[in-house]
């Protein structure tokens, strides 16, 4: 597995997409930091972009990579190594190379700007962590889709749909749910619904750390009470981990039974 990871990582790190992705974040980070000069605001803007883009890019790259690597995967399958090592290696290769682009792309501008001394460094690290988690989650989801659909167009469609579902539609349904049942106490529902979606969970974890959390008012206080505790932190980390582990487990199971 490590061998596959090593080679697919070094393949991907040299691809022009990785450079483009890195460069995008780099320029974004430089621009936001040095033009706005307000770290807290820069982090909010970055958060908005990272929470939309990392899942989308993870999805699109995951699908593209696994479809284009299909023939090579077949060659690997004929080699004396376990299937799960091939897929786990490729999955980790693509997730970690995307994550590296993100971390370097945003990290370098922040280091140049000198985040080390300021109180925002924890928030910044939290943002990076959320971005990395979302990358691993959405690559895993998209790989699952490519394994279940031979038809590239179909697979691509489903992958985008999955992204749309979690990034947009989920919040829409969430909002409708809140509006429909606003006669009832909604605290636990709100908490549950936002913990279950990894994008919402990441957004709230970051928001709570920023000044803007004051806007969340009473609802925010409930969330802070929950996430402020060790229990809340463990639950949210656990949920994020489950969002990686379950799709990866599913992926390995599918791969094991699949005909190539």
């Amino acid at each position: 597995m490590i061998k596959i990871l090593k080679y697919s990582f070094s393949d991907l790190m040299r691809s022009r997409w990785s450079y483009a992705y890195f460069l995008f974040y780099f320029l974004l980070g430089m621009g936001l930091l040095f033009l706005s000069n307000d770290l807290s605001k820069a982090i909010i803007t970055l958060m908005n972009i990272v929470l939309v883009l990392t899942p989308l890019i993870g999805t699109v790259f995951g699908v593209m990579y696994f479809y284009s690597a299909r023939e090579f995967t077949e060659l690997l399958l004929a080699q004396p190594i376990k299937r799960k090592h091939i897929f786990l290696g490729q999955y980790l290769g693509i997730s970690s190379s995307l994550s590296l682009s993100l971390i370097l792309g945003l990290g370098i501008p922040f280091l140049i700007y000198g985040i080390g001394g300021s109180g925002q460094s924890v928030n910044f690290l939290l943002l990076l962590m959320a971005g990395v988690f979302l990358t691993f989650i959405f690559v895993a989801l998209s790989v699952n889709i490519t394994l279940r659909h031979e038809n590239k167009i179909k697979g691509f469609g489903y992958a985008i749909l999955t992204w749309l579902l979690l990034a947009v539609i989920y919040d829409g349904l969430f909002l409708i749910g809140l509006l429909m049942f606003n006669e009832y106490p909604l605290d636990s529902f709100t908490l549950l619904a936002s913990v279950l979606n990894p994008i919402d969970l990441s957004r709230i974890l970051i928001l709570l750390k920023l000044d803007i959390s004051a806007l969340l008012g009473y609802t925010g206080a409930i969330f802070r009470n929950f996430f402020g505790t060790d229990y809340g932190m463990i639950v949210s980390l656990g949920v994020l981990c489950m969002w990686v582990i379950v799709p990866v487990g599913l992926l390995l199971r599918t791969a094991k039974k699949k005909d190539f």
Binding site: I44, M47, N48, L51, V52, A167, V168, I169, Y170, D171, G172, F174, L175, L178, L179, N182, L186, D187, T190, S194, I199, D200, R203, I204, L207, D211, I212, A214, L215, L216, G217, Y218, T219, G220, A221, F223
Partner: protein, 413 residues
């Protein structure tokens, strides 16, 4: 220099107008070593000249017209034993002292300086440290509270008092004071015809200024910063608020300014910056909001109900998360000719007003008003899409809540 001029003037005034006035010196080597004893020895209209030093005294009761003048900032230290100076006579002046360590009581409002039923008082150039209440002034009229510094060390609302607390007073000027670490910086209840100006009220536990049942007052050029809740102005008429700064009142239940049941007032030339809510307006009518800056607040203006005939004109709304939030009918309130940084319209005829109206209430702020829990979707992609589509074709936001002629450029004043 200015300070000494004032002092000199006051001094001269006292010396020249009082016929039988004597001057008593108080110091560690003087005949009078204690302030308390000197007060009881003094005749009405005498001046007590207190020299530099530390006087460990409390419960000083002034029941005749006197001037206590500190030379070189003498310190009166009550060591937490209770109320320090209590005044029950007209024409008392307390000038130039450091007064510190009032005790804490849960049954009595212990203060550094307590005035009761007193007219014509001057409290000038004092520094009040570690107080429960600072100046506690009841049923008193025609006074000046100027250039004092009041510091509390309150951590919780229960264990702290107010800096300058006026109850049933009139014709008082509160100016150039610095208030911090108190429950409320300045507290007005039933205070009429008074002025609060050039004060700085920072980091108080509850309100920078707490203002109730007080009519025909003006507060201007004050700075209210980083107070627990902000400034509350309630149940009053004919209040003038101008040139004040309301900044960084940033917390889940904070606002720059709370208006509750305020009528016939002017709010002009103020700056509301980085508050969770710039102005929270509840049941207030006939108020004129003009030339105010609302910068980087969560909500610039939040209107909660029962408001009539308010006019917002020539204000700057810049980079607020929500410009206006409304949970009731618009009634006859008017927004016109304001500058909105969120405005994306154009001005073809170059009259410096936008040609298409601006709707300051976005859909999300409308939804949040209906169901507060939805705020948790703040800054999610869905909400951005929602607001955008609502902007393109409004379906939910109140039709009549518009600025028909928004300004194209930020207004300078």
């Amino acid at each position: 220099m200015k300070r000494y001029k004032v002092l000199f003037f006051v001094f001269q005034l006292l010396v020249c107008t009082t016929v039988h006035a004597n001057v008593l010196d108080i110091c560690s080597t003087c005949e009078n070593k204690q302030i308390g004893k000197a007060i009881s020895l003094a005749n009405a209209h005498d001046t007590l000249l207190v020299q530099k030093g530390v006087y460990k005294e409390f419960a000083l009761s002034i029941d005749k017209p006197l001037t206590l003048l500190g030379v070189g900032n003498p310190t009166i230290d009550a060591e937490g034993k209770g109320e320090i100076i209590s005044v029950t006579s007209d024409s008392v002046n307390i000038i130039g002292f450091i007064i510190k360590n009032v005790g804490i009581s849960h049954t009595r409002d212990l203060s550094a300086v307590h005035l009761y039923k007193v007219d014509y008082f001057n409290l000038i150039d004092n520094q009040l440290e570690n107080v429960f209440f600072g100046f506690l002034i009841e049923k008193s009229h025609h006074g000046l509270i100027s250039n004092n510094k009041v510091q509390g060390e309150g951590k919780k609302e229960f264990f702290s008092g107010n800096g300058i607390h006026l109850w049933h007073c009139s014709d008082v000027i509160v100016e150039k004071n610095h208030l911090s670490g108190l429950r409320d910086g300045i507290y007005f209840e039933f205070v009429d015809e008074s002025k609060v100006r050039n004060n700085v009220s920072i980091g108080n536990i509850r309100y920078g200024l707490h203002f109730m049942f007080s009519n025909n007052d003006t507060y201007s050029n004050n700075r209210f910063e980083n107070n627990g809740a902000g400034v509350a102005v309630m149940f009053s008429k004919f209040v003038n608020m101008n040139d004040n700064l309301f900044i960084k009142n940033w917390g889940p239940a904070s606002y720059g300014l709370l208006l509750k049941e305020i009528y016939d007032s002017e709010i002009v030339n103020n700056r509301f910056q980085e508050n969770t809510i710039g102005i929270n307006i509840d049941g207030s009518s006939r108020i004129h909001y003009k030339n105010n800056d609302f910068i980087r607040n969560g909500w610039a203006v939040k209107v909660t109900g029962g408001c009539y005939t308010n006019k917002f004109e020539y204000n700057n709304f810049i980079s607020n998360a929500f410009d206006v939030s409304y949970n009731s009918n618009l009634n006859d309130n008017l927004f016109i000719n304001n500058y909105w940084s969120n405005y994306t319209g154009y001005d073809i005829n170059k009259d410096s007003f936008g040609d298409i109206p601006f709707r300051p209430v976005n859909l999300f702020s409308y939804v949040v008003n209906q169901t507060p829990e939805t705020i948790i979707l703040l800054r999610s992609l869905f909400v951005d899409i929602l607001n955008f589509s609502e902007k393109v074709s409004p379906a939910f936001t109140p039709d009549n809540l518009v600025d028909e002629a928004p300004l194209m450029k930020k207004i300078q004043w």
